[in-house]
Structures are given as C-alpha cells and as structure tokens.
C-alpha cells in the first residue's frame, strides 16, 4: 500500500478521517432524510387552510377546548372542539384523554384532517402541570389579541358563567 503517507502521524490522521467521515456522512444524511418527512407543523384552527394542512397530512393542531363541546361517544370515542376564538375545528379522538384535559384549557392534538375537514387526532398532549398552557397556543392567542392571562380559563370564562 504505497499510496499511504510515509509519516506515521499523517497515516494516523488518514485513518481517523477514514473512520470518521463515513459515520458523519451517515449521520448527516439520515438527519436530513428524517427531517424532511418527520417534522410536524403546528397550526391553530384559523390557520388550517386547505393548502397548508391538506387532508391526510399529519399536523399538530392546538387551541382552547371549547366549553360544552366535549361529547363522549361509545367505545371510548371523544369529540370536542378546539378554538382560537377566530375559528373552530371539530376534533375526533379515539382513546383516553389525558388527566389534565379540561374544557377551557389549552390543548395540543396531533393527527390529520379527514375529507370533511374534521380533524382525526391520534394523540392529545397535555403536560403534568395544572397551570398548563401549551406555549404555541399561548403564542397564537397573544398574536391574535385573544390572550387573557388574568382569567383561569381564558376565553371561556364568559361562556361558563
């Protein structure tokens, strides 16, 4: 193997590069590939247009659970509405809601739109904190001027009273 450099130091460097480069290339390649398809965008109900959130694409949809909208169907199916006070989306979820799921509270769901523009959630996320307001939801409400931190159940205080 006379193409190898003569000095032992350069030779060692070459070996290190030969080991590191393929692994790094693999890591970068895998990351780029995985980033393309496995990144989920977040929307609030008023942003879910047909172009941005087409039927079938997995997205995260978040907002406030509309008071009085939660309907428990048979066999663990739950339907509720999520609102950002500008638009409302109907959500169907099959499964157990998190312990902290409550009407009037912020919630983030993951799933996809059905052809009738109702949202089929595969996951309803809630944090372990009773003061939980998902940050994305809070940000969107703030940007729309609908953020009322002084009330415990923002935006639904009036509806429940």
């Amino acid at each position: 193997m006379n193409w190898l450099p003569k000095s032992p130091k350069a030779r060692r460097r070459l070996w290190v590069v030969a080991i590191v480069a393929p692994v790094l290339a693999l890591a970068v390649g895998l990351s780029l590939y995985a980033m393309r398809d496995n990144v989920t965008f977040f929307f609030s109900p008023s942003e879910t247009t047909d172009e941005d959130a087409p039927v079938g694409r997995v997205i995260r949809l978040g907002g406030l659970v509309e008071a009085g909208s939660v309907v428990h169907g048979a066999n663990g199916e739950v339907a509720f509405a999520v609102t950002d006070n500008a638009a409302t989306t109907r959500i169907v979820f099959h499964g157990d809601l998190p312990d902290l799921f409550r009407e009037g509270q912020g919630v983030v769901t993951q799933g996809a739109f059905l052809p009738d523009r109702s949202f089929r959630a595969t996951q309803v996320l809630a944090k372990h904190d009773e003061n939980y307001m998902p940050r994305e939801v809070a940000d969107r409400l703030k940007s729309k001027g609908e953020w009322r931190p002084e009330s415990d159940a923002p935006a639904t205080g009036a509806a429940t009273l």
């Binding site: 290190v16 080991i19 995985a34 980033m35 989920t40 965008f41 157990d96 902290l100 372990h128």
Partner: protein, 661 residues
C-alpha cells in the same frame, strides 16, 4: 430563625466558593501550598454550608413552615412525610439547592483527593469553585428558596400530585449526582488544558484521574434516567416509557457524552492517546448537563413533562452556559493544538475500536441534539412552529446505534496496539450463530411476524453472547480444568467484570426495548363491572369500582382480574384514578400485573356510560412483552459501573496508601 440560618448558610457558601476560586488561583500563581490548602478548606466549608442550607430547607418542608414561600407553593400538611421531604427538591428553587449541594459536595471530595499533581489539583479546585459561584449566585439572587411570605398562609398549594411518587422522590437526586458529577470531569479537563504538559506521562495519569468521576457520573445518570423512564411508564398511564421528548433528550445527551468520555478516557489512560478528544468530551458532557437544565427549566422547547418551568430564570442558565462553556471551549481552542499525547495506533486494535465507538456515540448524540433543538432554531429563524417526533429519532439515532452495537462485542476482544481481526472473528463465531438462532426463534415465536423486530432480538442476543464469549475466553471456560477457570475468575479485575456487566446489560435492555416496542398489544373499551376486555393472550375483567380516600386525595379504585383468555391463571390488580382537591388535579395509578418478563398494564379511565346506558369506565389495557428487561438492563449496566468503581486500579489514593502500609 432556623430558616434565616439556611438563607445565611447559602450566602456563606457563595462567599466561600468565591474565596475558594480566589485562593486557589493565588495559590497556583505563587505555587503556595498554604494558599492551596486554604482553598481546599474553603471548598469543604462551602459544601458543609450548602448541606446545612439544604437540611434547613428539608426541615422547613417537614414541619410545613408556610411562612417560607417555597414551602407554601409546594407543600401541604396532608401530604405524606416522604413527599413533604421530597418536595424540598420538587421545585425550581429547591432543586437548584440540591444541584449546588452536589456541585460543592463533589468539589469537597476533589479537594480531599490525594495523588494529583499540585498544579492540576489547584486549577481544578479553582474551576470547580468558579462553577459554584455561578450556580450559587443564581440560586441566591434569583431563586432563593428561603424567601418569606408575610402574612403566612394557613395551608400550602401542595406538590404536583404526579411528583408524589417514590420513584420520583429519588429520581432528581440520582440524576443530579450524574449531571453534576460531570462538573468534576469538566474542572479536571479545564485544569489539564491549563497545566497540560507535553510530557507523555502526564496524560495517562490524567486519564486515570478523570475515569472514576466519569464512571460514577455515568452510573448515576444511568440509574436516574431509568427511574425517570420507569416513573413515566407506570405513573403517566400512557403505556410507553420513552417519548423522545425534549426533557428526556436533555438527560440522554449528557449520558451519551459521558459514555463516550468513559471509553475515550480508557484510551488516554492506557495509550496516552486521544488527549484533546477526551478533554473535549469532558467539557462537552457537563456543557450538555447545563444545556439539559436549561431545556428542562426554561420551558422553551415544548415538552410534555417539564417541571419547575420559568422562562426568565431559564435564561440565566443560558448565560451560565455561555460563560462557563464558552470560556472552557475558548481555552480548549487555544491550548488543544499544543497538547501532545503519545500514541500511534493501528486501525484494527482496541483503541481503534474505542475510537469508532466514540464516533458513533458523538454522532448519535449530535442527531439527538439536532432533533431537540431544531424546532427552536427554526422558530427563531422563520417563526414556524414545528415538533420533531419519535419517527425522526427512529430514523437517525437508531441506525447509528445499531451500527455501534454491532461492533461492540469485538472491541473488548481486540488487543491493544495491534488486534487480530481473524482471531476475533473465530472467537465470536459461536456468539454470532447463537444470535442468528435467537433472531429466528424470535421471528417464529412472536405474532405478528416482523423482520426488523426479529433482527433486533438477534442484536440484543449478539450483545449478550458476544460479551459472554469475551469472559469465557478470558477464563478459558470449558477449555481448561474448572479449577483453573475459577482461579482466573477470582483474579480477573473488577473493572473487567464491570465492563462485561455493562455490555451485557445493554444487550438485555435492547431485547426488552425491541420486543416491547415491536409486539405490544393495546386495547380499550368502556366496561361496566363484570365486563371483559381482551388484549393479545390476556383477558381483563372489571370486578368493581369503589371510591376510596387517600391521605390527600380521593380515588376511584378499580379492582380487576387479569387472566389468560381461557380464564386460567388469574391475578387481581388494582388501578386507580386519583383526584387531588388541592390543585384540582387528577392522576392515574396504573395497575401492573407482572407476568414473568411481561407486563399486563391496566389503566382505569373516565367514568362514562356504555351502550346499554349503565355506568361504565374506560379501561385501557396494554400487553407489554418483555417490558421487565427495559428496566432490568440499565440496572445491570449501573451495577457494572459500580463494580468498575470498586476496582483498586482506579483508586489512586488507596493504592498509594497501601504501598506505604
């Protein structure tokens, strides 16, 4: 009065840490053992002061002194004593005091360490003191747990009920012992970069000093993360144990870096090579610890489980990160080109295998970091809010790890300097055959048929058998008389047993993770008492639901019976849904039926009406095959770490004392 004593002790500790840094720096510059000794004294006194402050905080929680705002915010008189005490580190302020306690405590141990050269030790003490100053100042000025409330409320707000759990009472202390244990590696690396000599005997010794710290931190992190995962598994009631959530990744990244450090320090110790790289990893590991603290506390990445969140104070952590790590890496950039380790090495050798291990570990750590931080970067760049979910990690982290695990059994079998690949192949042939056999058996045994999961079973078996092959080789098992094998087993250093256990434990974990993820069965149904639900080969009957009263909660307690589908082998399980009136929160107590290696996991859900209109409860059942191994594996790994720590070769002070005796 006692509380003021705690507040005073905390401030005293801050002053002592500053003193420790100043004295150590002066001692280093003047080469004065007197000043250095004073710095050591300050380090020990500082640790005692923080310990006192922490004891006072625990006392305030134990007696429910609600005039202390931290106690009022996180405790309640109805809480059981264990959770009153664990509440002391359940909040942002209290957990920071715990962080400081571990930081200064390890600093005190470092100050007492023998056998380190003067310059290295004093510089390390100065660095550790500077870290102490930053974190203590953060605690005292922005997060003081001893702030009083006037007037004091009659009752406290109680601790988040999800945290009222035995596993979570010990999870933070263990995790912090690991996170902050890495600070000593950080300080030793900074000291070595300052003192770093070209002479080649310095670096192997430095590798030996840093190893026990890396090893201890790694073992604590392993235990802490596993306890956290176990807690998530049985307390959240989501059926899973790892969600690739930012907060979980925050603890996982330092673990990966510590694992890499552990292995590269061996190369530095044995061959005097990879000097700069080991120092870099030591800096990186603690940097990732601080980054983890930032991720958990700032609440900036959206996480399902973040506690003690406070964005403003989280930013202070980011500032600490910038100052501490920025300075350390600047030092590294300046000094690293001048570092001269020894070390020529051939690609096929033990050190070559360890380099490959490090490359894979750091690359996988980088992909985890990218997945965790990418949403933040993107949001800062163009305002889009995204989340990176488990599929990303399954596509990036898993292949890299699989590649690393495939080569793992070969590493310990390769000789230093020049390995014999063919010989290794021969010695691993039997293990490879057994692994393939296990994969085939797995493919036949489990339904539905999944080629990837079967291959995963083969991988786990490969790790276990490959590791055992190495021990068998060392002991000349079945090839020499049994007495000879026994004699060899006794003389085998504990460190070697530790390596074996850690690697085999990893294999056990892989088996559990692969089988649980690939073959878990989930079912859900609204059940009225007397009705059944089936999941795989199991049937679960809801017998009754009654309301019970706990010390600080009300619960709907479901009594259920788990049987095989034909009704044989019944076991009673209890699943609860607890309501905590303070805070108005509901939590789930999962009913777990341990069936050999499998779990039948039962969650009692909301009260609903079934088809007939009778009261019913949503019951969710998971059959998690081999779930036991997921938590057993890391326990074996941590035990391996402990065994290695007990190895006399790693304990510098001890061996020296023994020689003089």
């Amino acid at each position: 009065m006692i509380v003021e004593l705690g507040a005073f002790a905390l401030i005293l500790a801050l002053v002592l840490s500053a003193l420790q840094t100043g004295l150590a720096m002066a001692g280093r510059l003047r080469r004065s053992p007197v000043l250095a000794g004073a710095a050591e004294g300050a380090a020990i006194a500082g640790a005692v002061a923080v310990a006192l402050a922490f004891a006072v905080l625990i006392w305030a929680f134990a007696v429910s002194d609600f005039s202390v705002s931290n106690v009022a915010a996180n405790s309640h008189t109805d809480k059981p004593m264990l959770y009153k005490i664990s509440g002391a580190w359940g909040s942002h302020e209290g957990s920071l005091v715990l962080w400081c306690l571990v930081l200064t405590g390890f600093g005190a141990v470092l100050a007492r360490a023998r056998g380190l050269p003067f310059g290295l030790k004093v510089s390390a003490i100065a660095t550790q003191g500077a870290l102490g100053v930053m974190f203590l100042a953060f605690t005292v000025f922005t997060s003081n747990p001893f702030v009083r409330l006037n007037p004091a409320p009659f009752q406290g707000n109680s601790l988040n009920p999800l945290l009222q759990d035995p596993a979570l009472a010990v999870h933070p202390p263990l995790l912090y012992l690991g996170y902050v244990g890495l600070s000593v590696c950080f300080s030793l690396a900074v000291a070595a970069l300052i003192e770093g000599r070209a002479n080649s005997s310095f670096w192997p010794a430095w590798g030996r000093w840093i190893r026990p710290w890396a090893l201890a931190s790694w073992a604590f992190l392993t235990t802490g993360i596993t306890l956290g995962a176990f807690w998530a598994y049985y307390e959240l009631g989501w059926g899973g144990w790892w969600f690739w959530d930012p907060v979980e990744n925050a603890s996982f990244m330092p673990w990966l870096a510590a694992t890499a450090l552990l292995h590269s320090a061996v190369v530095t110790e044995r061959r005097g090579a990879l000097v700069g790289w080991t120092a870099f990893l030591a800096l990186l590991a603690f940097t990732l610890s601080i980054l983890g603290a930032f991720i958990v506390r700032s609440g900036v990445p959206t996480s399902v489980h973040a506690f003690a969140v406070d964005p403003e104070r989280g930013m202070v952590l980011l500032a600490i990160l910038a100052v501490a790590s920025g300075a350390a890496f600047a030092l590294f950039a300046w000094r690293a080109p001048q570092l001269k380790g020894g070390g020529m090495f051939a690609p096929v050798s033990r050190e070559g295998a360890l380099v490959l291990n490090n490359v894979f570990l750091t690359a996988s750590c980088a992909t985890v970091m990218l997945g965790t931080l990418y949403p933040l970067i993107l949001e800062a760049a163009d305002g889009a809010t995204i989340s990176v979910g488990p599929p990303y990690f399954a596509l990036t982290f898993v292949p890299l790890m699989v590649a690393a695990l495939l080569i793992l059994p070969a590493g310990p079998l390769l000789a230093w300097k020049r390995g014999d690949l063919k010989g290794v192949g021969q010695r691993l042939a039997l293990a490879a055959g057994l692994a393939i056999l296990m994969a085939l058996l797995g493919w036949m045994a489990f339904e539905p048929k999944k080629a990837l999961s079967a291959a995963g079973i083969g991988l786990g078996a490969w790790l276990i058998f490959g590791t055992l092959a190495e021990v068998a080789e060392r002991l000349r098992l079945f090839r020499a008389p049994f007495a000879e094998t026994l004699r060899r087993a006794r003389s085998l250093p504990l460190g070697a047993w530790g390596t074996t256990l850690a690697h085999a434990g990893l294999g056990v974990f892989v088996l559990g993770a692969v089988v649980e993820t690939g073959y878990r069965v989930e079912a859900a149904r609204a059940l009225a008492p007397g009705q059944m639900i089936e999941a795989g080969k199991w049937a679960v009957r809801l017998d009754s639901v009654r309301v019970v009263e706990g010390p600080n909660y009300l619960a709907e307690q479901g009594r259920l019976t788990v049987t095989l589908r034909d009704g044989s082998a019944p076991t009673a399980v209890i699943a609860e849904r607890r309501f905590f009136p303070t805070g108005g929160q509901t939590t789930t107590e999962v009913g777990l039926d341990f069936r050999g290696l499998d779990d039948v996991y039962v969650v009692l859900g909301e009260r609903v009406r079934n088809e007939a209109g009778d009261p019913a409860w949503t019951v969710r059942v998971w059959w998690n095959p081999w779930a036991r191994l997921i938590f057993l594996g890391p326990a074996i790994m941590a035990l391996g770490g402990l065994l290695s720590l007990l190895d006399r070769r790693l304990r510098i002070g001890v061996s020296r004392r023994k020689r003089t005796a």
